[in-house]
Symmetry: C2
Subunit: 702 residues, 2 copies
């Protein structure tokens, strides 16, 4: 590697450390906010302990899973240990473990801060919207900085220490396998608690949300943290690493041919500048005294976007990168924004779909469901076209640069789309913090003004969430298309090796996957069915788990004397509900995770690389479709319920409201368990296929 | 053409006429059954008139649409009229119109008989299960014979008169465009009426199903006929013609190269034997005095399957056809049966999924929906694998025969799967007839024993329906894969022409579609989103229409004095509801139908043949997934409701039952509007693409 590369590597490390620095400063700032209310402190402590208990149990299970995976990786990757250099296997296994550990640490940091920031946001709400917003936003930003800082740092360290693409994919697979379980497990936990608390509390007993009498209320708040903060962070850690890994693998393939390092440098440079732009965006985020929190969140996102475009433009000029590749990144970023805006249209309560679903709900819950599902289906259309157009445009823009550049363009579009991921995570983690804050205000009896303020902060979190989710799915879409390119790259490296080892072999290079090849078509059909089955397993998991928890809530209300009436000093056994959510989530996530990995391996060993190519493609296409449909339907139902609660179409307590609650309950696992887990599912499958590509090439039945 | 071909053509015509003969005999038999109850006669007449009114209006709208399509076809196909021989254009347009007319006539015959058979089945039920079953089954079989007889006759006549593959595709497109609107329009009509009748009658007022006071009750019964008899018949007419057309196009391509006609003869021979097997199967269908109607229906299906296998085996031996192709057909048939059995598992009320959804419903409608959707998702998995495996097996079995045979094998698997389609239609049309019969028994006050008998006949219809639907989707799946082959064939015919016309052109033949080509990938993403949008448009159409009808029902109950109380002589204005369902269905189906056609044309002109190939593939894959998911979820909810009504999990009137009714209402447009319409949607899109392939090849932007 030349000096040039080292320059970008050092820059990446410096900016990563700067991100950690900003995270630490924000953490200190949040921590220094006043905390005087003893009741909030005591409930906050319950939430914190619950979250840590879950995280500990989850990480224990994951450690076992990753341990087994590490042994398998050590024995077989990059080549069976008895055939290659064992040192290579050690490198890949260490990279894999680092991927899991870096992601886990970022998750732990996020949880630690979010379970402090929620209390601070609650207390600050008595002083106005401004301090409360800042507590929520800066708490979330710690997570954003920690996730992106550690993913960039991790990728750079792997590059410096190994300079080996399989190790990079191993690191990425580590991140993915953690994300698969963290997102699915956290998603099952949070929705189990949310649904159970609502169903018994709000629907059966008619007590308010976040009422401290409800035995599931703490579990619900814990769920916000473990599902929406830690789970979502792991998800975006994974996407971010995967997009960098895909771009680096394809970029360095081109570099090897050209004998330079300009493309891999460019990847690192852009990723670094994206983080820098986010650091600036976070630092400049402000809200006026009576300003709109939604506008504050969105404007800092737009600032980040603008800064990224300007910085990368300057860098492209300064370092003589290709302008066409810059354009590909900017296309990715713009399409990300467009997808976000489209998601917003289908879920925002000022737009037509929410109003139509609210009106439909007047005829009963069946119509809430039918109209919500329909708009979810339709909402996928602009996003699918957006992803298709951006991939096509990035490809066509970069194709004239030479062989390999077209696919590199797509990978760089994904890097561009994910460049502002730190900002996206900050906005996303803000949501559960202020949601928790709202709960603490209710449970701590801080008064109606504080409740109104946290309500408006919470609602801004929901609106922004739709946009960031659309963004995350779009980015995952482009990333996995690039990973398909990586898969081909990996197969061809092996084919070259085989041809050198056996001069008479003349195995042709893999150039693509022909749909008319029945193995490819077979793969397409099977791959397309996977996200459906995976989603179903998670949803059924939530359902089974919620049924267990509802039983426990009923038991407590029946057996604990004075609980139902709210007698002073009578406290429900919160920990029992946390225990059920934790055990159940871990029990339910394992089969779903294993299912997708096993099917991938089976398809690969039966149908070989061609079937695998079809399988990955089918998986990507239907995965995107299902993820978009479920996330948007869920968001739409959530906001419809809130819209009705705010007095429309009959308002709270009306039959319309009851129907809207049914929609919201169906939407919960759609949008917070299955939908976002599909992102991770398609990444995991792509990485498993890339890592095992040699075996699929040489040892398959067909 | 040689004598050999003529032999098979004459045989096809003879057997088609024999099918019409059997249909006529069955019609006479049904008509001769006693009809003495004046009340049944008067209600039956209302249903008959309603169905004919709708059919007339629908056909009028379709005539206008087909007229416009015919003009466009005349000007542009097979080549623009100013460039080629105008006679060719006349041939294609006549073939197109014949496709629509043959299908429409079959639909009309089916409706005519089903609206007589329902009355006969009702009256016969007072004499026991046997005569009532036979009335329902033989009434349905008229439809089966008419549909398959006319489709085989039509295809054979086109072959004899034109010997032109574009004309064959034109005939098929005629059948498809009729089916698209007939299935979607009938589906919207039937579910509008069904949902509205249930929601106001059963849920709001608590009056029984089919109560004559309900203003929507006649519309509901009309809907069974126009949606499930005429619509479904048009759908399977379409699939059957498309599978024969695809096999004939590919088979005669091979024949042209080999200088014989053996493969196209084989297609005709197998299709003819399939119809013959069904004639035998229908003629032998019997039920014991106290026998199970489900067993009777299934056993005649199995007899048909066995007879088909034996007859084609004998023919293959006698005419020296390739045994490998025979095997491909049998694979198709077997996989069809397997898919049917899998669908049955997910929807049958003696199996686990129904019980789990029933138990989940105890926690409220949200859980009914979540569990039903989850099992619907999972149910797609075995079927997708089944379709993939059968395509792969048929391809691999026939590949050794030489170039072109592999794709011919897939087409013949589709022909094999559809060989028993006449039997499938008979079983399918039996359902709405006995469902109507049950309604007439209720409205005609024929007593509890008769009600019990028709209930059991109705329930058998529902069970068998799940199997036939799975079958229909599987067959459509294989057919459209074969149509993809047809699309390539058509493109290559044009490429050869272009290369001859411009010797310097050297345009390479299209051999397939590479997923890594960004145009193909773009097409995949857009194509995959279409079934989702199309379904959503239909579901929203049902919803809007149902809301209009519910308003009208409320108006009648409020304004017509004595109606609610059931005062003697007070009759609701049934025709108003029929009018709303009719007008609404026609209004709602047009945008959905135009949408898919316009998008196909746009993708073709923007992205050319490559994007179109991706588009068709994406469309097939997600179309199958959505069709399976929606049909099976819908069937599952329907049977769960019936299971609860029969006394399980709290029984009728319990909260569990209310939740199950919500599931059933959501499932109605899933299983009877959107799900089965997707079949037709993917066929239409494939045929549009094949017909316009030359334009996409020469005039696209990319």
């Amino acid at each position: 590697m030349g000096t040039n590369t080292q320059f970008f590597q050092i820059a990446a490390i410096i900016i990563s450390l700067a991100a950690f620095g900003e995270a630490f400063w924000l953490y200190k700032w949040v921590k220094a906010l006043p905390a005087s209310n003893p009741q909030i402190a005591s409930i906050g402590k319950l939430i914190k302990n619950g979250a840590n208990t879950f995280l500990k149990k989850e990480y224990e299970t994951l450690a076992r899973f990753c341990g087994v995976a590490a042994i398998i990786i050590f024995v077989f990757l990059p080549s069976p240990i008895w055939m290659g250099n064992p040192l290579d296997n050690v490198i890949v296994v260490v990279a894999y473990l680092c991927g899991t550990i870096f992601s886990a640490i970022a998750g732990k940091i996020g949880i630690t801060v979010s379970t402090i920031a929620n209390m601070k946001a609650a207390e600050a709400s008595t002083k106005g919207i401004k301090p409360s917003f800042m507590a929520g936003f800066r708490g979330g930003a710690v997570m954003g900085m920690a996730v992106v800082g550690s993913s960039l740092l991790g990728v750079t360290l792997v590059l410096i220490l190994t300079d080996n693409t399989t190790a990079l994919l191993g690191f990425s697979f580590g991140a993915s396998s953690l994300a698969l379980f963290a997102k699915a497990g956290g998603g099952i936990f949070t929705k189990t608690a949310d649904i159970s608390a609502d169903l018994v509390g709000k629907v059966e007993l008619g007590i308010p949300e976040d009422d401290p009498r409800n035995p599931a209320v703490i579990a619900d708040n814990v769920g916000d943290n473990v599902g929406d903060v830690a789970g979502m962070g792991a998800d975006l850690f994974d996407s971010n690493v995967a997009s960098m890994a895909a771009a680096l693998v394809i970029g360095s393939d081109i570099d090897t041919i050209n004998g330079n390092t300009i493309n891999s440098s460019m990847v690192l440079c852009y990723a670094t500048l994206g983080l820098l732009a986010s650091i600036i965006g976070v630092a400049t985020a402000r809200i006026g005294k009576n300003g709109s929190p939604t506008r504050a969140l969105n404007s800092s996102t737009y600032i980040t976007t603008g800064v990224f475009a300007a910085l990368t433009g300057a860098a492209t000029y300064a370092f003589n990168f290709e302008w066409r590749i810059w354009l590909a990144s900017i296309i990715g970023l713009l399409v990300g924004v467009i997808i976000g805006i489209a998601s917003d249209y289908f879920t925002n309560d000022t737009k037509k779909p929410v109003h139509i679903v609210a009106t439909a709900s007047e005829s009963g819950p069946a119509f809430t469901i039918l109209s919500g599902i329909s708009y979810g289906f339709i909402s996928a259309f602009p996003a699918m076209i957006g992803i298709g157009v951006s991939a096509l445009a990035a490809y066509k823009v970069c194709e004239p640069l030479g062989p390999g550049y077209a696919m590199f363009g797509i990978a760089m579009a994904a890097v561009g789309m994910l460049s502002i991921v730190a900002m996206i995570i900050s906005n996303d983690a803000y949501g559960p913090i202020v949601d928790n804050g709202r709960g603490l205000v209710e449970m701590g009896d801080l008064g109606d003004t504080a409740l109104e303020i946290t309500d408006s902060l919470d609602s801004a979190g929901n609106t922004v969430k739709a946009i960031t989710k659309g963004f995350a799915i779009g980015a995952a879409g482009l990333t996995v298309i690039a990973l398909l390119g990586t898969f081909i790259s990996e197969v061809n490296v092996k084919i070259t090796e085989l041809n050198i080892a056996t001069p008479d072999l003349h195995m042709p290079a893999l150039t693509g996957f022909d749909i008319m090849d029945p193995l490819v078509f077979f793969g397409l059909l099977v791959g397309a069915a996977i996200p459906a089955v995976f989603s179903a397993m998670l949803i059924l998991g939530v359902q089974r788990n919620a049924q267990r928890m509802i039983k426990e809530i009923h038991r407590q209300f029946n057996e604990i004397i004075g609980l139902r009436e709210g007698k002073k000093g009578v406290v429900p056994e919160y920990d029992k509900c946390i225990e059920i959510a934790t055990t159940g989530a871990i029990k339910e996530l394992v089969p779903a995770g294993l299912f997708v990995i096993i099917i991938t391996v089976l398809v690969g060993f039966i149908g070989g690389v061609k079937a695998t190519g079809g399988f990955l493609t089918g998986n990507i296409i239907s995965g995107l479709l299902f993820a978009l449909f479920m996330s948007n339907s869920g968001g739409l139902w959530d906001n419809t319920k809130k819209y009705v609660e705010s007095g429309h179409n009959g308002g709270k307590g009306s039959d319309t409201h009851k129907a809207a609650v049914v929609g919201d309950t169906v939407g919960d696992p759609f949008k917070d368990t299955a939908g976002p887990s599909i992102n991770t599912q398609i990444t995991v499958v792509s990485l498993v296929a890339s890592l095992l590509s040699t075996f699929f090439l040489t040892m398959s039945i067909f």
